[in-house]
Symmetry: C2
Subunit: 220 residues, 2 copies
DNA sequence: AAAATAATTTAGACAAATCTAAATTAAGTT
DNA sequence: AACTTAATTTAGATTTGTCTAAATTATTTT
């Protein structure tokens, strides 16, 4: 239930990276945390053992549902403190992050919920990023459907609106799942089918019917 | 310049204990910090190496001037956060200590000084204890002289008003120095001499002239 | 002044988080 | 398909802070 400062920093960073990339790699995380790949591997084993992480050697990693909840708690604390620092203590918006980086690890629920109330339940931090509420709900990166995504913009599959066995079978065959990074390369007017890239390389075609049911959250 | 949470907890606890007792022992500190005597000895070596502590094996320890400065910084943070929690977040006075115990270790000077200003430079925490200012000055446990101390009240020698070689020689002979715990047992009207206890046991007599020059800070 | 007891320190071990260097696996290229 | 390079993992150390058990030193009692 309680995590070390180090574990929290890993969890939070994975959360942010996977938002952009679907899956996170060892080197990427090592770069972000200014640590060594070997240290990342060690920590990944630990987080997997705590069921916060999906991880198979050489396959990259993603947070589990539990892991994401933990991450949202940390992000909530971080952003509430940033709001407090800017709004009440008159720090400038570029100074708050560094200080919040320390305050976020004080994980007393009552403290954070009272701070939230004191600040008037702010919705966004000083950088405009949304603040998760006490239940971990965060203003969604508004989901859109694949056909609405601009061309050549890498984005993330975050859900499927039709849950039938048939569509899941098709998605499985095309190796598309929640967390897959996709990019629309071409739109064919004749039948509204799309040529898309999945993962890092694979180029495939999907029908309008399928595309309509793929929910996307995109943050570049 | 920056200390670990563990080091800070030791430093702060030594500061409080030596205020009451002059010198601090291994078992005492272990008891207070809920750790083992062997761990205390290990940490004492480290703090001595960092010149925060006077320590000779088996002789107990006291903070150096530098050590006390560090302690006052931690106490300042602790008490400012306690004030914030009670005053702004509406915690009750008995809840604040536990939370402040965590917040005190976020040691960003600008944060604390801005918090202090935001709170209106409070002088006392919710328990009535004085808050050190940004320079580490704390409302003194007003020094009095030995003859003014009530009978049978253990208190601490905190200074000497006359710094001549003669008085220092006499004090040395009587084994009284800064940090010695003393207690006045009897007052003789005839010559205003005092019978006092020094340390835990020794009973000695001192003249009015000497007593007048011994400064006392007493906190039981 | 011994002997007994209490306080303190040392020796050796362990968990957490990190590192370097070497080994392994995956990916990209002829 | 084999070779080369890049990414990742493993092996083995290191630092910090802690512990238990044993040895040492100080204090108190006889
Ligand atoms: Mn930030
Ligand atoms: Mn952090
Ligand atoms: Mn307190
Ligand atoms: Mn503390």
């Amino acid at each position: 239930m309680n995590y070390s400062v180090s574990e929290e920093n890993y969890i939070k960073t994975i959360f942010h990276l996977q938002k952009k990339e679907g899956t996170v790699t060892t080197n990427e995380l090592a770069g972000e945390l200014k640590t060594r790949p070997a240290s990342v591997t060690d920590m990944m084993k630990k987080l997997k053992a705590k069921k916060l992480l999906h991880y198979q050697p050489y396959q990259g990693f993603r947070l589990t549902t539990d892991g994401s909840k933990v991450a949202l708690g940390i992000i909530r604390r971080h952003r509430l403190w940033e709001y407090f620092l800017a709004e009440k203590l008159k720090f400038t918006w570029d100074e708050v992050h560094e200080v919040a980086e320390e305050l976020e690890h004080v994980s007393n629920k009552k403290l954070i919920d009272k701070l939230d109330a004191y600040l008037g339940f702010p919705k966004k931090d000083p950088h405009g990023d949304p603040i998760p509420d006490a239940q971990g709900k965060i203003e969604s990166g508004k989901k859109i459907r694949l056909p609405e995504v601009p061309l050549n913009t890498s984005c993330l599959v975050s859900g499927v609106s039709n849950q039938s066995g048939e569509i899941l079978d098709l998605l499985k065959h095309k190796k598309i799942s929640i967390g897959t990074v996709v990019e629309v390369r071409k739109r064919f007017e004749f039948d509204q089918s799309l040529e898309i890239r999945t993962g890092k390389q694979t180029i495939i075609n999907i029908s309008r019917e399928l595309a309509e049911n793929i929910l996307i959250s995109y943050e570049a």
